[in-house]
Structures are given as C-alpha cells and as structure tokens.
Symmetry: C2
Subunit: 330 residues, 2 copies
DNA sequence: ATGAAAGCGCTAACAG
DNA sequence: CTGTTAGCGCTTTCAT
C-alpha cells in the first residue's frame, strides 16, 4: 500500500509538502497541490488514520462495548450514543465482549486507544475495567456500580422497576407471583429481584416460586425455564420475568401448552424491547430509558474529554408500560 | 498517560528491555522483568495498541459497516461475522454509515486501517467503496453488486425471493397484488420488485398498485404508506412489502382501521426478522440467510487475507416462510 | 541478558 | 511557498 512517502517521491516534492497538499493546507500552491493529488490518485494512496491519530494523540472516536452486538436490546441505546457522538464530531465504534477476556472489548479497554469508552456488558468482570481507568481516559459503565476515580456510572433504577412490576401484579389481584431469572444474576437483575421481594414484603405476600435457570436471558432460556415450570404442574398466577426476551420465550411455551395469557397466567417483562409491543397479547413491561441512557453516557464522555468535572453517578427512572399480558382479577 | 518510555525510565532499563519484559520475551531475566512489570503497574501503564499495529503493519481486526447499527435487521448477520472472526483470532468492530460521507464508516474505509471490511449499507454510495478498494485490503460488499479487482460480493437471491412471495400470493388465489416499497430503491429492493413483476407476468396478472413511499424501510414508513393506501379506498387483496419492518407497520395500520389480516387482506414481507414470527398474525415472509451471509463474508475476508484467490461473487438462496398472514382463497 | 537505533506512516514547528 | 527535521508509542534487528 502506498504511503505518503511514495506520493511525495512520485510527485517530486518533500514529505511535508505532500502532507500539506493532501490535507488542504493553504500555503501550498495550486500547481504543486495538483501534482501531489495526481500522484496520490495514481498510486491509489489512502492515508493511514491510525498514524495520524498517533501523531495527534487523539482519535476522536469513542467505543461502545456491549455484551452482544446482535441482540434486540441494544438498538435504542446505540442510537442514543450514536446521535450525540456524531453531533459532536466524534465517531462511534461498537465492539462486543463476546469471548470474555480475550475479546475485542478488552483490547479496546486496554490497548486500542480511543478517547473514551462506554461499557454495557455484564459478561465482563470488574477488574479489567477498573484497571483500564486512568486519567484522561474516561469510562462510563452502564449496567453495574463501579467506584473509581475515572469511572462514571449511569444507572437505571432497576429496583424501582422490579417493585413497580410486582406491585402491578399484586394490585391486579394476583396471589402467587413467581420470578424467573438467570442464575448468574448480574447487578441489575439482582436489583430487580430486590424490588420484587420488597413489594411482596410490603404487601404481606411471599414468593410463589423463584426459578433461576442457567443461561443468558435469551428467548430460548425463558422458553426452557417456563417449560420446566409448567412440567412441575403448580403454576403461579403471575410471572415476572427478569427481561422481555425471557418473557417472550415464556409466552411461547404457554402457547404451546395451551395455557392462555393473561386469562390463566399474567406475564410481565422488563426492558421494553421492540418486540414487546407486538406480542400477542402485547407484553406489559417495565421500560428502561435506553435512548436516554445512551445519550447521557455519550454526553458525559464528551464533557469529561472537555476537561469538565462532573458527578460520578446518575440514576434514571423506569416506567411501567401496561399492555395486555396481565389480567385484572377481582 | 504513561508510555513505555516512562516505564523504562522508572525501571532504570532501556526502552527495548521494557518492551521485551512487557511482552513476555524469554530473554529477559526474571529480576529485570519483575522490575519492569512493577514500574508498569506503578505508572498504570497501558500500551497503545495502535502504535503496535502501526509497527506490525496489521491490526488483526476487521470492520463491519452497517447502515444502522441499531436496527433489528442486522442481529443475525453480525453474529455470523462475529463468530467466524473470533474463531480465527480476529477482532470485529462495527460502525455505522449514519452521516453519509462524513460517517465513521467512510473513515474506516479510507483511513482507519483495519485488515478488511465488510460493507452492508445501502446509504453509502458506490464511489467511496470503489475508491477504497486496493491490493491487500479486501472489501466484501453485501447488499449491492460492485465489480472491482479487490471487491467481493455476497448476494442474496432477491429476485427469486420476490418471485416466490408473489407466486405464493397468486397460488393462494389473490387477484390484485400490490407492492409497497421505498422510492429510493436500493439494489436488492429493485430485484425484489423485478421478481414480483416476473411472477405477475408469468401468471398473466398485472400489478394492482405499486406504492413507493419516501422513507427508509422502517416500521413507520410502512405504516404511513399503508394508511395512504387505505385512504384511497380501493384495497388490493394482497400486499407484498419490500421488507418485514414495513410489513409490520402495515399490519399496525390495518389493525387501527379495523381491517383484518389475513381475512380481508394478505400480507407478506421480506427478511424474516425476529419480530415476524411473533406478530399477530405471524408474518409470512421470505427469509434471507443472514447468519450465512455474515459468516461467508467473514470467511472470504480471512481467505483473502491469507493470500488465497477466490471467486468474486457468491449468491445465496432465499426461503419462503409460510405463517399466518396470507389467506388461502378459493 | 541488555541497550542503541532504525523505522512503522504521519504531522507540524521551524527554517529558508 | 517548500523542505528539513523531530517525534507520536511501539517493536525488533543488531551489537555488545
């Protein structure tokens, strides 16, 4: 691949002249510029942006690390980050933490210099993140609580959400309310569970059943967990799933078994993914302000890059979205 | 931020020794290594991976460019690329072409050196892609036909898909079949349309109506286009939407207007996004082999990077997925 | 086993 | 207006 050196040689000018010409610096004469540009075209020259960044000591790009670039969950979040970054002349690149400590994510945290990083990946441990935080390299973490000088937290009030979900079920007249989650519960899921227990407690109920399956909060995991529950033949009258994807899987399982939602069992999810609205029946759920989380995170990074000093913790509320998957019993 | 230079100084060794120690080269004595590592820890040293890449002339990462990182469409595709890349020790980063010629995408094509690029973004013009193609920098394009020495195409047989969709409708007994798409039709959408017209022709039908809305193939655009069609009060008995998202919007419009799908009107989409299966009624559609496209693209990049010489064009078939949104009329 | 020095591709301060 | 030169942070050959 041709370098700027080759271009300079071909055009018969010095390195710097070539550089100036290519970057449109005005002190180069039209004639020379044309010569250089022509040579560049001939050689099919493309500049190596990382070399530029190296020189400039800034990449003008921020990285977003997600646990699964391909999941339905991240859509809105990404949009939030994207828009803010773009408006401010920053690039956004996303990479996944698929592969754990060997993952691209870790490399971006530790090696590939970007100006800032937003981390939303529960399958990443705390240490690599903590170790990566350093002055001049702002990190915003989204789904966990991490305290460190150079780490900032954007949190969603999962506990409140869990509480609201459970309370709705209770007020609807459900007596036996189960919670289905994942055994390797992440920070936010633990809080949802806490909210669930709190509500139960406040109203003098106790947990009907509390199923933790191994898995990754996917549709499939929800399906399997629910099948298990059905097989045990002692169905509660409502289930609070730790997230929408699991709820979707659950509803599928119920449909297959001829159990009607919400007539026979109420279902509530968490997140409000796109799918939720289109389910049959439409899924009642707790909405996370995903777009807001994303754009806030981007804003914070930008402010930090700007040398501003800001709070270390931000908490955003959740919102109950009532649709048709929960029955009002009398 | 501390550099390796600082570490070397702090440890009282030379630059090269520090580098060797940090990279685990065995010719460094245990004592020195320990000293260096200690200094690195003290200074919170993190190496700059781009500098390494610059030196090594390889980044071991491939970039995936998509038109909308946040859309529901790309999930499977990304997974396909991700898995293959990861298995082969490559990193994957995704960036969006949001912002057109100023976008991060263009920078990755032209400036930020990665080892290879996969492009799936209809909102990017041909030129920047063509201009970026050069020896030793493989580009695989997914949603368009682009001929150039260093560009490789992975295509899905959209025409066949369009044909199958239309044929199903015809065989189901629909007489008046409309096609709803986007005016700025991209390459693959044109082919879908061609398949549609071909089928109509083969069976001696003609197009009932052919609505092109301005927009971006989103749920919302489908909704608006359908509302328009409804307002015109001369509904066809089947609609072939250019993609699932538009079909979803269409079904929403029908529901609001009290028009029953499929009893009063049959609906078919294209892509088979996650949502399709969960619609009410479940959406009949044409499946694109998204995962396969992604993994094939990744494989190609890897082979090219390996110096192998391969075909320039690959065509994958589509598949009809019959669900409940099309009525069998007699 | 360790260090000096060249160089990856680029920019920019300085001199002319 | 153009060229010389130092240097961004790192690896690696070659000497010692």
């Amino acid at each position: 691949m041709a370098t700027i050196k080759d271009v300079a040689k071909a055009a018969g000018v010095s390195l710097s002249t070539a550089s100036y010409a290519i970057n449109g610096n005005r002190k180069i004469s039209e004639a020379t510029r044309a010569k250089v540009l022509e040579a560049a075209k001939q050689l099919n020259f493309q500049k190596n942006g990382w070399a530029t960044d190296l020189k400039r000591s800034s990449t003008k790009t921020i990285a977003l690390i997600v646990s699964d670039m391909s999941g339905p969950y991240y859509s809105e979040l990404i949009r939030g980050v994207q828009e803010i970054a773009f408006e401010n002349g920053y690039d956004l690149i996303a990479c996944s933490s698929f592969g754990g400590n060997e993952s691209t994510a870790i490399k971006f945290l530790k090696e590939k210099r970007v100006d800032g990083v937003i981390v939303s990946a529960h399958n990443l441990q705390d240490e690599p993140i903590l170790e990566s935080a350093r002055k001049g390299f702002p990190i915003v973490v989204l789904d966990r609580h991490l305290k460190s000088d150079h780490i900032y937290n954007v949190l969603v009030d999962n506990e409140q959400g869990g509480y609201m979900a459970t309370e709705l079920l209770i007020k609807n007249g459900c007596k036996r309310i189960a919670y289905i989650s994942n055994s390797s519960s992440s920070y936010d899921h633990k809080l949802r569970y806490k909210g669930y227990m709190q509500a139960l407690n406040d109203y003098g109920y106790k947990s009907a059943s509390n199923l933790n399956v191994n898995g990754k909060f996917t549709i499939d995991d929800g399906y399997r967990a629910t099948k298990l529950l059905i097989a045990q033949r002692n169905l509660p009258d409502a289930i609070f799933y730790a997230n929408d994807e699991m709820a979707v899987g659950g509803m599928q399982a119920f449909k297959e078994s001829g159990i009607r939602v919400p007539e026979e069992i109420s279902v509530i999810g968490f997140d409000d993914i796109l799918l939720a609205e289109y389910m049959n029946p439409p899924l009642t759920t707790i909405r996370q302000p995903k777009y807001e989380v994303g754009s806030l995170a981007a804003h914070l990074i930008l402010q930090l890059l700007d040398g501003k000093s800001i709070d270390h913790e931000y908490m955003l509320p959740t919102e109950l979205v009532v649709r048709k998957s929960c029955l009002l019993r009398e």
